[in-house]
Symmetry: D2
Subunit: 330 residues, 4 copies
Amino acid sequence: MLTIGVIGAGRIGQLHVNYLKNNKDVRIKWISDLNCDKMDAWIKECSIENKTKNHMDIINDSEVEAIIICSPTDTHVDIIKSACAAGKHIFCEKPISLSIKESEEALDAVKKSNVKLQMGFNRRFDSNFKQLQQSITNGDLGEIQTLRITSRDPEPPPIDYIKRSGGLFMDMSIHDFDMARYLMQSEITEVFAVGGALVNPEISQYDDIDTAIITLKFESGALAVIENCRRSVYGYDQRIEVLGENGLITVDNAQSSTLTFHKATGISTENPPYFFLERYSEAYKIEMDQFLDAIVNDKEVSCTIEDGYNAQKIAIKCKESLDEQQTKAL
Amino acid sequence: MLTIGVIGAGRIGQLHVNYLKNNKDVRIKWISDLNCDKMDAWIKECSIENKTKNHMDIINDSEVEAIIICSPTDTHVDIIKSACAAGKHIFCEKPISLSIKESEEALDAVKKSNVKLQMGFNRRFDSNFKQLQQSITNGDLGEIQTLRITSRDPEPPPIDYIKRSGGLFMDMSIHDFDMARYLMQSEITEVFAVGGALVNPEISQYDDIDTAIITLKFESGALAVIENCRRSVYGYDQRIEVLGENGLITVDNAQSSTLTFHKATGISTENPPYFFLERYSEAYKIEMDQFLDAIVNDKEVSCTIEDGYNAQKIAIKCKESLDEQQTKAL
Amino acid sequence: MLTIGVIGAGRIGQLHVNYLKNNKDVRIKWISDLNCDKMDAWIKECSIENKTKNHMDIINDSEVEAIIICSPTDTHVDIIKSACAAGKHIFCEKPISLSIKESEEALDAVKKSNVKLQMGFNRRFDSNFKQLQQSITNGDLGEIQTLRITSRDPEPPPIDYIKRSGGLFMDMSIHDFDMARYLMQSEITEVFAVGGALVNPEISQYDDIDTAIITLKFESGALAVIENCRRSVYGYDQRIEVLGENGLITVDNAQSSTLTFHKATGISTENPPYFFLERYSEAYKIEMDQFLDAIVNDKEVSCTIEDGYNAQKIAIKCKESLDEQQTKAL
Amino acid sequence: MLTIGVIGAGRIGQLHVNYLKNNKDVRIKWISDLNCDKMDAWIKECSIENKTKNHMDIINDSEVEAIIICSPTDTHVDIIKSACAAGKHIFCEKPISLSIKESEEALDAVKKSNVKLQMGFNRRFDSNFKQLQQSITNGDLGEIQTLRITSRDPEPPPIDYIKRSGGLFMDMSIHDFDMARYLMQSEITEVFAVGGALVNPEISQYDDIDTAIITLKFESGALAVIENCRRSVYGYDQRIEVLGENGLITVDNAQSSTLTFHKATGISTENPPYFFLERYSEAYKIEMDQFLDAIVNDKEVSCTIEDGYNAQKIAIKCKESLDEQQTKAL
């Protein structure tokens, strides 16, 4: 029985709790959230033992072995440092922080401790992308020339979210940077980014964009392109293609159903799952299972704070490239 | 908390238990199986409280509220009658029996009792087929002309299974007969069947076939064709098409992954799920949830013993049609 | 230079002429049609040298080497007999006639002559179905268990056409009977047919149906099902599937374009080609090229009068089966 | 009857002649090629009246009304200038030249003359891309955010070809630059290119690359990415996607057949057409028909020398961007 505490009960915190509550080997001793007073029904339904507005109550509880960080980004580094000091294992949603310096402090804290920290790059745990990664690693495609990641959200978030998001690269593309590193198993050496506020011009007032095309170069010489947009009205667009000497592997969007309608006006199918909660519902479970397994069986986590740090650095270089209209080296 | 007992711990009995063991509102008090002595590890893992070789131990236990019948077909009717007498709700795998007379006894027993009996026609609970059924019922297709069901197993069962199976129509096509009735919401009035032992000629020694084409006529005037085969080396083939005045709806096989390989030799994807356990894993969960919900909330079951009885009658008429080479009325 | 005459300038006669007019090695000396007076512009555009209302003018012309019969079915046998007597090679649209006795006279006339007669079963010349036929013949699928032909017209013809059509089996399914024989390279030994006037009940007044499911048995033991309907509002539905010991080959409808629209309401593509002129435009050219090649280079025709006769017999047996509700042997 | 001469009888010259020879309204009076002595059989088969090694024989022939330029790129400008002076209409394969200055001379010559010049950007005439262009122009997608062009050759050309090709951007991507302008109906204002000799490192010795990712910005603010590679072992990869406010349109590769094989090892279809001659066979015919129609009916050509000049300028800017690792404005 593993005793845990969850910090942050927003959309993603609730998602993790709703899965963990069915795990007979996990005891959810704590939830911390500033709004936890309004969550009594849900807290009871999930058999969470205690609630608090102060996450330090969790970190200071000697029974707690691991924490799940789902609170706002600007709280991550302090929590990580405290948890490391207290010897609690950590699952942390992305990004580590919006500042390289702060992330380095977190990285340092984890290195000096014995705690395991797993970053919440959920897409690595999607069975299709995992299969692609294995196919590349197995050499099915031979040497790789180009990788293409299409990643589009169905609709832009509210402007209030944009303001605190760290920008498109840090908030949205960061998943794609991690995916690129994960698939290619090679470090990124150069980036170039172009973009614009093409969906909602208001976004440009906050020094941000909603549409981007990002070009990456890997140590291996291979190239990648990431295509991001905050709006794809047909649903969450999550596709990948990899070209190698032996051919091409494409990973298409998941189907919502296997029905096809053939009418006088044409042939149609349903859109893919609308957004990340639906699309990656299985991946979220697998990433959590692997985190628990890493703790219980003392294994390496499959997605480290270094992975989070590297993805963050790439995001920062992309913003510089966008502003300066030139290639930026890492 | 609902207290249940499971009768029969073969492949399908284990499947149900493995799902039910995670339901906090269900207490699995009993498992009965002639081989239960060899199952201690699994029984413990599933927190089943008692084991027995005699299913009457379950039926006689006053705490038990419902039973799941997964034992061989020739035991079903006796168990149903006993359970009805004891007032236990029943989930029963198909078919009810191989004899119309015996099934009528079971039907009678259920009618005279207050127990709910749900037949295990799992495919009704597949989200795609359910969506199709709703689309037909909503009138999306207008009046229906023809229904086509393709249903093929990846490989023939052992001859020993064939001998006890009741024949292709009773063992395999019975799912398709139920699906046809479920989708069309209209009774079948005539059947015609042709077939042969085209995969394994040895099967013909047991007055059975492994390949069949079955034509059905509905009260509504609509027609249907069912194509069955005991071997489709590319995996479990489960497709449906419905033609109506407004067009056609096709339900294709489920994907195993969203990867496509483009090589010098061609473009390829993975086969569909290999067999029913993989293909209908979600449907099995939904049917069980609905059975439990029907008991706890005193609702109608979604698939009745009459449905089981009707499908069985169709199977018997198909065998007569095959033997006599003519249409048989129901 | 091959000198030909075309008998009948309806839709299909014009199609053949419009193709042949571009062939520098073909001289279209004659067109015969009862309405040829209204066709002067088209006759000139196609450089047809002479027009007549009497096809015997063509058959009696010693320069004419071959004729293309596109006139109404009830004229075919007389024309074939005259052409055989005059030593003219014959391309004849299906069916030979509506009467077995008359078709046997035509068959006899051809056998006793030295003329080549090619039946207009255009679908044999479709590149996809040809590839399927070769795949089956090559043994790619191993032994065949079942063949499925889906063949649906976009909309029913006028009642006036129905009256003279010879009925669904003779008019429409006959193409599928020929395709079944062509693909399987095995003779059909038994048929069973069920059907109804489900699209337009008025059709039943003329002892005809508009929807049918036909089951066939081959000498090889293999089975087939043909699904016909006079209405598929999504376009001309022409699909085939063949199941064998090594797997399944499906031949899907041809695409009208490679565009896919992804909108908020779903993902859609265009319907397949609307009807046979569009769908088989290439096949019509290939069949005519092969007919000319057979004459010029003294080769066997690829689709004989025996093929036409066999398909006609199957059509007749299907009507008997439909009426008598039992299997009919051939 | 239009009298023409064809300059250059390589692969593409022969393609055009083989189509034009069947046009009854075209007289191919001349072919010029340095190797024409070895082509007598083909010249006769195509009913070409005269052959020469000197294209000026064609331009000086007062009967000739139009010329088709399929000779090596370094001959184009001189031929264009001579043809303009002689008042001959011109169909010219891409690119105009490898030098901006020379192309401007050609542009100038055309402007000052009354001749029509159509550039051989064949892809504009593909029915699928034309349909896409119309869909964009009709506003089906609303405002456009991003365009993606995938364009890959099945295998790299010989090194000798590379040396004379003008480089990847001028030889291969130029088609994509034209397609981008054609689809978006907006001028390109900025380019960025990254690339490498990832398929054949020897290519780098000739200051060239075989793999590129090119980012474009349009006047409209929209973005585009072009992905080029000299090797896609699965066939000629020619796909386009356009994202707009109302959704996404994808144009997939053309099918070679409609057969799908379902085997124990997976589901497979054939690769797309292997290379441009197969893929664009219809487009080549349509572009030539439109050129002839423009002359005969005095219409505007659908692809002008300005289009050729603009595409060439983009190619040159891409090479600069690649070398300087920064955005280049046009």
